[in-house]
């Protein structure tokens, strides 16, 4: 199935309801906080009350004396090893020792018989701090003489990087037009609805730890636990219950997950910690705020001659996904347009704020905001239509970027044409009445990275299949369903290969003991990578059955197919044997029936700093149009309608694809219009709740017209590419470009509050604090 024979598919390409939807609508799906184990006790963490300070003294006596308290622990550098998601520049600890670096960082924890006692005990812990000067703005944090968060990071530079492809200066000198502008992309968080929760259960007799927690990357989490707790991986089992949304925010160990493990090991009892919403915001790991300078050169026809991108990322207090985000922001400039010369200068800076990390469309939201805005500015100057400037630059199948990314398949141009036609963009752009406008923006995202977070050549996804007459077909795969529906699409793929009904396929995932290793749910890699693994495992098992069926049917095994519960001869379909019967025969004559499969992505071939991040097996593309209305008196903005056309390859499950697109647009729209984590002058988050940190509600969502552009990627298991992240990227610039069309002002900072609009219209005169 390397060509598009999708019309023959029984399950792939069908809008199948999610396999876990029934449990979810009945309230029967078990999330981490729903778990209760015999003897379960509860823990709470004491957070710091200064954004930067030396811990002078922690008095736990009163807490320890409270009836019902079982254990109190404080930060300890000998037992609480620093960690980070990739073990690169590890800075975070289960509980801070020595000093705290953001308001809310844990310094002590209490385990008690019930949650209320644990809460009360935490309030009785007295912590004395020597307050240190702090920095909240990364531009200031880089200046000489500013307070340093970490000893190793001079001028608070966590990581910096440079890339040069071609001769950017020469290209600018020879360009017909050179444009430059500065942009600020804001401080937002995932706002998944399920707060992180963990139940750690250490068996003191066996020396074995079982951890139940909502984590997107159980494999990396497993490694983090092993290193931080100094326990071999085979003595740890990570079980991931139903995950209530992740969006990148559940890719790393929370301090609470380590605290729960430490307390459980100490007490020999299962320990649960569930964050409250304020703690969720303080733990953050959301999108990196970015101070960006984008400069691009153009020829008279609007072709981009060079791109020079400078990016300062606000990392908050710890390392997290910092260097990955920095390099991704470089990599994401390389597409979706043909750029002959590219320069990148970037740095990630520590500040005394909740740490930033991975959030849906990591690196892409920032880059798209600046590049798509500047493209429109250039089009305006050149007298070229925004539609044409994108068509002239859009990448096509077979394109190789300067950073040696191979675009093995692209339908970007058809996405642009489709969305422009459906929205009437060309009829409306520049022609709507004042106050009303329409904007276009494009985007893309990688489909699975080419790198592991540690040095290894092992496959990124693996799957095993067991076929028998007792359990049917059971697929063991390490993928994590965080709500995006991976279990459903993997079920569809296996059912397709084996010609079985969906109900006959049982997926076992989200358990490091039962399921083999998988990189995890990030970087839009699951449907592609784990898809390859389950497909190959299914083919492996199927081919074994074909050996038995071929003899029975007297047909060459290469001329057999599976469909409708039968194995039959391709050229004489009446010759057939029931799948179940073939399994029975195999078990009787050969023995147990297993299949195995794995996936390893192509390796990067470039030779430059940061080369591991960016090259990916495939790229998804998206083009979007926003039609908006601005009230020039109040500054209020209303989205009238939103259009999207996307190339996600073959849509395994079109209904799921639509859900990803609609959800992605909603997240982009929230950041564009109102979401922002606000810090007080004292370094405390001012809005750590859903009243004050507002995410889109039903009332904020416009009508969305999303089109799946027909496409098939020949490198993918079933022609499929990413759709989970790419659609978030163009939302901000589509809206910013529409604002320009509506009222003729260029907004370069988000969120686009009424205040920012009025200021841009010259109706308010205070300067913006985030302008570079």
């Amino acid at each position: 199935m390397t060509t598009d024979d999708t019309k023959r598919y029984a399950w792939v390409g069908k809008s199948i309801p999610k396999v876990d939807a029934a449990a979810k609508v009945r309230g029967k799906a078990i999330y981490t906080d729903d778990i209760s184990l015999p003897g379960l006790v509860y823990a709470k963490i004491k957070g710091s009350t200064v954004p930067h300070g030396r811990i002078v003294k922690i008095d736990t006596h009163k807490a320890e004396a409270l009836p019902g308290v079982l254990a109190v622990i404080v930060g300890d550098p000998t037992t609480m090893k620093p960690y980070s998601v990739n073990n690169y520049l590890p800075t975070e600890q289960a509980l801070a020792s020595g000093k705290v670096r953001y308001y809310g960082e844990g310094v002590a924890a209490v385990a008690a018989l019930d949650e209320k006692t644990a809460e009360r005990a935490v309030s009785l812990i007295e912590v004395e701090y020597e307050a240190l000067p702090f920095v909240l703005d990364p531009r200031e944090a880089m200046e000489p003489g500013k307070p340093l968060l970490h000893d190793f990071a001079e001028r608070n530079i966590n990581y910096k990087g440079e890339q040069d492809f071609g001769d950017v200066d020469k290209a600018f000198a020879e360009s017909h037009l050179v444009m430059e502008n500065h942009y600020y992309c804001s401080y937002v968080s995932h706002a998944f609805l399920e707060p992180q929760s963990v139940v750690a259960d250490y068996d003191t007799v066996k020396g074995h730890l079982t951890v139940h927690t909502c984590i997107q990357l159980p494999h990396y989490f497993h490694q983090t636990l092993s290193r931080a707790l100094e326990l071999p991986m085979e003595r740890i089992r990570v079980i991931v219950p139903t995950v209530g949304g992740g969006f990148g925010g559940k890719t790393e160990a929370t301090p609470a997950s380590l605290v729960a493990c430490i307390l459980s090991r100490k007490l020999g009892k299962p320990v649960k910690i569930t964050y409250d919403r304020e703690e969720v915001f303080q733990q953050n790991k959301g999108r990196h705020p970015a101070y960006m300078r984008m400069k691009m050169g153009f020829d008279p026809e609007g072709r981009i001659t060079a791109c020079d991108f400078d990016n300062t990322l606000d990392g908050g207090a710890h390392s997290s996904w910092g260097f990955v985000t920095l390099w991704f922001s470089a990599a994401l400039t390389q597409l979706p347009y043909k750029l002959p010369n590219v320069r990148f200068r970037g740095r990630r800076i520590f500040t005394n704020k909740p740490t930033t990390g991975a959030q849906r469309c990591l690196g892409g939201v920032q880059v798209r905001m600046s590049m798509e805005s500047l493209l429109d500015e250039a089009a305006q100057k050149l007298g070229i239509h925004p539609f044409h400037i994108r068509m002239v630059n859009a990448v096509e199948t077979g394109h190789q970027t300067q950073a040696v990314f191979d675009v093995r398949h692209s339908e970007l141009k058809r996405c642009i044409e489709t969305v422009v036609a459906k929205s009437g963009f060309c009829e409306k752009y520049g022609k709507l009445p004042f106050g009303r406008g329409i904007g276009l923006a494009c985007g893309h995202y990688s489909t699975g990275g080419a790198y592991l977070l540690y040095k290894s050549n092992r496959p990124h996804s693996t799957a095993n299949i067991r076929v028998d007459t007792e359990a049917g077909t059971t697929v063991f795969v390490g993928a994590t369903d965080i709500g995006q529906g991976s279990t459903t699409v993997l079920t569809q793929m296996v059912a397709e290969v084996l010609g079985l009904d969906l109900a006959e396929i049982h997926i076992v995932c989200q358990d490091t003991t039962l399921a083999p290793m998988d990189n995890g749910t990030y970087d839009s890699r699951v449907t592609y990578g784990a898809g390859h693994a389950v497909k190959r495992a299914a083919i492996d098992a199927r081919d074994k059955l074909f050996g038995i069926a071929a003899i029975k049917l007297d047909v060459n095994p290469e001329q057999l197919e599976c469909a409708g519960g039968f194995i039959y001869a391709t050229y004489s379909p009446k010759k057939r044997i029931a799948f179940r019967e073939a399994v029975h025969q195999y078990l009787s004559t050969v023995g147990p029936l297993f299949g195995t499969g794995s996936y390893t992505p192509p390796q990067p071939s470039g030779d430059y700093q940061g080369k591991l991040i960016g090259p990916t097996p495939a790229f998804g593309f998206t083009a979007q149009v926003a039609e908006i209305e601005v009230d020039v008196e109040t500054g209020k903005l209303k989205i009238i309608k939103y259009w999207e056309a996307g190339d996600c390859g073959k849509a395994i499950n079109p209904m799921s694809v639509e859900g990803q697109v609609e959800g992605g647009i909603s997240m982009g729209l929230g950041q564009a219009l109102f979401e922002e984590m606000k810090m007080s002058k004292e370094g405390k988050m001012e809005n750590p709740n859903f009243h004050d940190y507002r995410i889109p509600t039903t009332m904020d969502m416009p009508e969305i017209d999303a089109t799946i552009v027909e496409s098939f990627d020949p490198t993918a298991p079933f022609g499929n590419k990413e759709v989970g992240e790419g659609p978030v990227g163009p939302v901000i610039p589509a809206i910013l470009n529409a604002i320009y069309d509506a009222v003729g002002v260029r907004i370069t900072e988000v969120p686009v509050t009424p205040e920012r609009i009025l200021r841009a219209l010259g109706k308010l005169d205070q300067p913006s604090k985030n302008k570079l």
Binding site: S15, P17, K18, D20, A21, A22, A23, K24, V25, R26, G27, K28, A29, I30, Y31, D33, D34, H190, A191, F192, L193, E194, P195, T242, V243, G244, G245, G246, F247, D276, R277, I482, G483, Q484, G485, M655, S656, E658, G659, E662, G663, G664, I665, S666, M667, N689, F690, H691, I695, P696, T697, T698, M699, M701, I704
Partner: protein
């Protein structure tokens, strides 16, 4: 001091031990194992803890268990009839309105309360009815659609019943 309290939940009287400060959401989840009611924020701003009390959608994280005495409480576990899914549950499955599922029970309870008062809501009325329930996954498109579909189905069932 804790006291024994009898609560009518999903048609049954259940005895629970509560103090004056215990919230209904915690009593449902921790004492009665009704974990379908979720706790997403604890401040009454996300809607995941929505239950129906005497016909109205109520946030159980802002409701004292004591104040619920003598009232009829329905949770997500109580809207199926004889093992058959409620039309809303069915349409949420079929229309792709479920992703991570954490908002789903609360969303369905708010929709059920809405449809009990208004059998033919417009899209705008559905949006208003669900505006207190946050969802981060779906962008609400398929949720609003599912409620519309369920409303039509329920009207059909009503009509069939009246005809019979």
């Amino acid at each position: 001091m804790k006291q024994v309290l009898s609560l009518n939940i999903n048609g049954h009287d259940r005895d629970v031990m509560v103090s004056h400060e215990d919230l209904l959401v915690d009593v449902l989840r921790d004492q009665l194992g009704l974990i379908g009611t979720k706790k997403g924020c604890g401040h009454g701003s996300c809607g995941t803890c929505t239950v129906i009390i005497d016909g109205e959608a109520v946030l159980s994280c802002l409701t004292l268990a004591l104040s619920s005495q003598g009232k009829k409480i329905t949770t997500i576990e109580g809207i199926e009839k004889d093992g058959a899914l409620h039309p809303l549950q069915q349409s949420f499955i079929e229309r792709g309105a479920v992703q991570c599922g954490f908002c789903t029970p609360g969303m369905i309870m708010s929709a059920a309360a809405l449809l009990s008062h208004n059998k033919s809501p417009s899209i705008e009325e559905i949006k208003i009815g669900l505006s207190g329930n946050l969802c981060r996954c779906t962008g609400y498109v398929k949720i609003v659609d599912a409620v519309e579909v369920a409303a039509a189905k329920m009207r059909q069932l009503d009509a069939a019943q009246k005809g019979a």
